[in-house]
Symmetry: C2
């Protein structure tokens, strides 16, 4: 029994997942998702959280169970069952553990070819994410604590894979009453400063359908 974790982050306007470079066979030298065997007495959720904490410095990560993958064709070594999780972070806040045993963790685009059946896991996670940003506030887990409206919109656009109308997006999102101004402005660009926003609640919110 194992876990695999899809940790999402948005890097350079692209949706990416945390990968490692395998140090042993099978798939030696290939990219895969981080994961591993459950320790004794550990839940799959704890195991997934532990794996992430080993690769990154993150604490308090939002994580949710995705799906359980099994079947004898997914790992050449034998018959493993993997409980997959997905998690989110703000790319800028990540500090990687660079010790050799961490196997060079890095964020790569979701289309990157991975070993095992990990592309299947990533595809499933991406489709879940696409659905879920439309009726929950999970996007806050990808954003820094303070952000501008344009950044919020761009994150939606990256995940959904389509351009959104600026005025309509602002109206719709504002009506959800999820975010508020911090009072700070983002200056430094050669343009008018932007208001900064933060999410009101740190909790998970499920909306009754909207997009």
């Amino acid at each position: 029994l194992t876990t695999d974790v899809v940790l999402f982050a948005i890097k350079d306007s692209e949706l990416c997942v945390l990968t490692i470079t395998r140090a042993t066979e099978p798939y030696l030298g290939k990219y895969t998702l981080p994961g591993g065997f459950l320790h004794a007495g550990e839940t799959s959720r704890n195991s997934a959280t532990r794996v992430l904490q080993q690769k990154t410095s993150l604490d308090n990560i939002y994580i949710e169970q995705l799906f359980t993958f099994d079947g004898s064709d997914r790992d050449p070594r034998g018959d493993f069952v993997s409980v997959a999780y997905m998690a989110f972070c703000d790319y800028k806040s990540i500090v990687f553990d660079i010790s050799p045993k961490s196997q060079n963790p890095e964020f790569l685009p979701t289309e990157t070819k991975l070993g095992f059946d990990h592309n299947e896991i990533v595809d499933y996670a991406v489709s879940r994410l696409k659905n879920k940003i439309e009726y929950t506030n999970i996007i806050k887990n990808l954003l820094p604590a303070e952000f501008t409206f344009l950044q919020l919109q761009q994150y939606y656009e990256v995940i959904l894979g389509e351009k959104l109308d600026k005025r309509n997006f602002r109206k719709k999102f504002m009506s959800l009453d999820l975010i508020e101004k911090t009072g700070n402005m983002l200056t430094g660009g050669k343009q008018r400063p932007a208001e900064m926003y933060k999410f009101r609640s740190q909790d998970f919110v499920q909306l009754r359908r909207w997009f």
Copy 2:
């Protein structure tokens, strides 16, 4: 590693799940979901399907993975991990296996108190079902091959737990183009005969949001 299966059916205008009466400790004599250990070389999905085929005469059941439950507090015998599935059938088409080893399978309301953490599993399945009838055609798995519009509507009402407007429901559902008249009429009541319908496609259909 085990599976537990939530088999739904609508019986007497109530949403019910298949239960068994346990023949051994723990929870001897209590109701629980059917389930069991995976056989060697078997996937969790195959295991869940096999369990259902043992209790009922059903073949070709629609089944989907729900969630994986783990933690040391879910079974007093130790640390089990259970991959839960949900499935659907038309209550009228069920023939139970009544041999003693089948442990008296029967359909009971979803609110029935069950052993282990099985109420948690049922609650999760019910919420998934409630969501899913709003953007897929899974309801066909609960209906007989031919049905009337009123029956279809009543199934929605039972699952959603609310009354729906007859005219609006018919308009909305018809616009989805999922069902067609069979040409048969249901007679025998002391009222005008009703047109009978069937689903066009036997396949799973995912709609782009509607209810």
